[in-house]
């Protein structure tokens, strides 16, 4: 197939103003870290340093918790309708500054601008808009129950959707009357710090939202702080498990959104072209840095060969490169560390005997990149069929019957999401009943909406984010 040549179409970075260094956002103001420590944050597509970011130490964490505690009572006493207006304001300013945020997100995280522009930023604004409306309607969400906020929430988020995960955490917490301390991921702090500016712009009362930056130690200190009432974490199952252990017996409420190894299941009667697009979107969206990514493809045996051929052809048309280019499909891998992890697991996949195919594409000289990769001849015991790779790597297996598809799909400790592709309605509903997953996408994949609850079964965590169900992790209910 002839390769289409596109002219470069990079988004301008003029709209963003990255400071050479940042402070912590505590009690409504910018505070230099007591720790005196800073780390560099980079652009993973160029390895260029963007800014110096504070590393909050235990004392800084304590100051942030104090600020959130001080703000807690007045924020709880505020009428829900007034709290709502602050949250609506946040939604509006995210919309106003949409382009700036999208460019900054792509610069700091490596994701294609078309994704940050069309998905991350609008969904973040929508999430605040959705939960704003709940703030004065909580009694209708839990009929017959008294609804109270928990108090101070410690929230730790990952680097794959920095602003969107912030929105998923902060919006329901504020709507239910909690104050928060949020720690963005080590590698992607910039949009969270921009969000702190937004809190100032909308005159959010000081201390209601506090943003502290740092790495794992900062997060551990935050969740361990004795004056925190609620811990919310999105990230790996390994860290989630450590957090669950670390707060055992403390009485802190916990919600966890952890790893996944989703099966995307394609039946022989599926609409082939749509399924191909769904499979590609399922695993290559955001370079596969997606907890609910469709990282295992289960194809019905009768169409497996033809499907894989078609998939390989489609892989050849994916454009890997500058995240700021509007035509880019596959951006940069978020960090050196993540790139190493992907390489290691892909190496294991080859050693264990699976057959690898990588789309032919030019890899830029600088930055962190990994080409779209598929493995065929994968068996269920292979590590690439069991472990979350969190990269653009698809493991392909086959099945004969719906029962076999369900058994294989459910055969992991995870249970976050699953995909089903078939034109037969009754089979979709049967599959949806039997798949052990918190989200089932039928004839679509990777769809998100503020009104739609998201979260896992089994070791993918507990608690839901989004929708009415997303309020529950932030409230105490009494009869």
């Amino acid at each position: 197939m002839a390769k289409w040549e596109y002219s470069p179409a990079p988004e301008s970075t003029d709209v963003v103003d990255v400071k050479s260094s940042y402070d912590l956002f505590i009690g409504g103001t910018w505070v230099a870290p007591v720790s005196g420590q800073y780390m560099k944050t980079i652009n993973p597509a160029t390895e260029e340093v963007l800014s110096d970011i504070p590393v909050a130490g235990e004392q800084d964490v304590d100051e942030a918790v104090k600020a959130a505690r001080a703000a807690s009572k007045p924020w709880q006493r505020l009428d829900g309708s007034e709290r709502a207006k602050y949250i609506f304001r946040i939604a509006r300013v995210i919309q106003e500054r949409a382009r700036e945020i999208a460019v900054l997100e792509s610069m700091n995280g490596g994701k294609p601008i078309k994704e940050s522009r069309d998905i991350d930023v609008p969904l973040s604004a929508a999430h605040f808009f959705y939960y704003a409306g709940w703030a004065d309607k909580l009694q209708y969400a839990f009929p017959g129950m008294k609804v109270k906020p928990l108090g101070v929430a410690a929230q730790v988020i990952p680097w794959n959707f920095p602003l969107l995960m912030l929105a998923w955490k902060i919006a329901p917490a504020l709507a239910t009357g909690n104050t928060v301390i949020l720690k963005p991921a080590e590698t992607t702090p910039l949009t969270a710090l921009l969000f702190a500016e937004i809190c100032q712009q909308i005159d959010l009362p000081p201390g209601v939202v506090n943003i502290i930056t740092g790495a794992g130690e900062t997060g551990a200190a935050l969740v361990a702080h004795p004056d925190v009432n609620k811990v919310a974490f999105t990230g790996s199952t390994e860290v989630g498990r450590a957090i669950q252990k670390s707060i055992a017996g403390s009485g802190k409420r916990l919600s966890l959104e952890l790893g996944g190894k989703a099966a995307n299941i394609v039946f022989e009667d599926a609409a082939m072209d749509q399924a191909i697009e769904g499979v590609v979107n399922g695993i290559f969206f955001n370079q596969g840095h997606v907890c609910c990514a469709g990282s295992r493809l289960l194809i019905q045996e009768s169409i497996a060969e033809a499907f894989v051929e078609k998939l390989k052809r489609r892989l050849g048309t994916l454009r890997l490169g500058d995240p700021l280019d509007k035509n880019t499909d596959i951006g940069a891998i978020n960090s050196r560390e993540q790139l190493d992890k992907i390489r290691r697991l892909v190496g294991i996949g080859e050693q264990e005997g699976a057959e690898m195919y990588q789309a032919p594409c030019d890899i830029p000289e600088r930055g962190y990149w990994f080409p779209p990769t598929i493995f065929t001849g994968v068996s269920q015991s292979h590590r690439i069929a069991q472990e979350e790779i969190f990269g653009p790597v698809l493991s392909i297996m086959t099945f004969r019957t719906p029962e076999e598809a369900v058994e294989k799909a459910n055969n992991t400790p995870y249970g976050l999401s699953a995909g089903v592709w078939t034109e037969k309605g009754s089979r979709i509903l049967w599959m949806a009943d039997h798949l052990k997953a918190g989200v089932v996408w039928a004839n679509t994949f990777n769809r998100f909406d503020p009104s739609s609850p998201f979260g896992g079964f089994k070791e993918s965590g507990f608690g839901r984010e989004g929708g009415l169900h997303g309020l529950e992790p932030y409230v105490a209910l009494t009869p």
Partner: protein
């Protein structure tokens, strides 16, 4: 000449059967005044594991029964308890004293009736259609968490365990229950009601024994999806929660009287998307 009464051997309730512990152990259960009442089975690690296997095996069919059917089974439990009222009352009185024992039986029976009526309302109360911003059908439904470990409170001996089993069963979970350690006999009397009430074998398994021995086994078991720590002593909660984290168990505790919230605590939420189009 007065007749010598026939006394009952109290056993475990496991997979629908009433076995003794594979370990052959027992412990003395005392009356309120501190004198010997009976021997109860002191269940072992193996018994816990066997109970989890039985629960895992029974759970899918219990979950796939219609909600209407589950409601009828729960109601049948209440019927069986009502007909065995004198027996239940004498067990509770022997364990905790006569005072309040009748009221406790009322509460226990009425709790099953309450959840019997909830079974086919739960997904309408707790689920729904989500108005997503796009051409998609999007539905959220509650589903059972799976196999749930329940550490029953020490007292009230019967109403306490019923208040935890009923909401878990309502949504389609299978349970492994550690009975009150001091007052285990009413739980075994309850098991005899369950066994005659169309509850499929393995859906409820009741073990008696020492909590300090059994709770850590149940809490750390990799095939138990959630643990209800209502009956765990305060001093043991931290260790129980640490053990539960091994497979990211949901940790649940009683919040109060019967309510949908109590049943929902034993549920997961599944959201299904499908495009709309011609």
């Amino acid at each position: 000449m007065s007749r010598v009464e026939v006394r009952k051997t109290y056993k475990l309730y496991l997979g629908g059967d009433f076995p003794r512990s594979e370990s052959g152990r027992s412990y003395e259960v005392l009356k309120p005044q501190g004198t010997f009442l009976a021997n109860a089975v002191r269940a072992s690690r193996k018994d816990v594991r066997d109970a989890v296997v039985a629960a895992r095996k029974a759970q899918p069919n219990w979950a796939s029964a219609t909600a209407y059917n589950r409601g009828q089974v729960l109601y049948r439990i209440a019927e069986m308890m009502e007909t065995r009222r004198p027996e239940l009352a004498s067990e509770v009185a022997a364990a905790e004293g006569k005072r309040g024992s009748d009221k406790q039986i009322d509460t226990a029976i009425d709790t099953f009736v309450w959840y019997a009526g909830l079974a086919d309302k739960l997904s309408q109360i707790a689920g729904g259609l989500n108005p997503v911003a796009g051409p998609y059908f999007n539905l959220t439904v509650p589903e059972p968490t799976g196999v749930v470990g329940i550490v029953a409170p020490e007292s009230p001996s019967l109403a306490g365990v019923v208040a935890r089993i009923a909401p878990a069963l309502c949504g389609g979970n299978a349970t492994v229950v550690l009975a009150s350690e001091a007052h285990p006999l009413p739980s075994i009397a309850l098991a005899e009601c369950l066994a005659t009430a169309d509850v499929p074998g393995g859906v409820v398994n009741i073990l008696t024994g020492h909590k300090d021995e059994l709770v850590p086994i149940l809490a750390s078991h990799g095939d138990v999806d959630a643990i209800d720590i209502t009956g765990v002593e305060d001093s043991a909660i931290a260790d129980t929660e640490i053990a539960a984290a091994g497979n990211i168990k949901r940790v649940i505790r009683a919040e109060g009287s019967p309510s949908p919230t109590e049943a929902i605590a034993f549920m997961e939420f599944k959201t299904v998307w499908h495009p709309k189009g011609t």
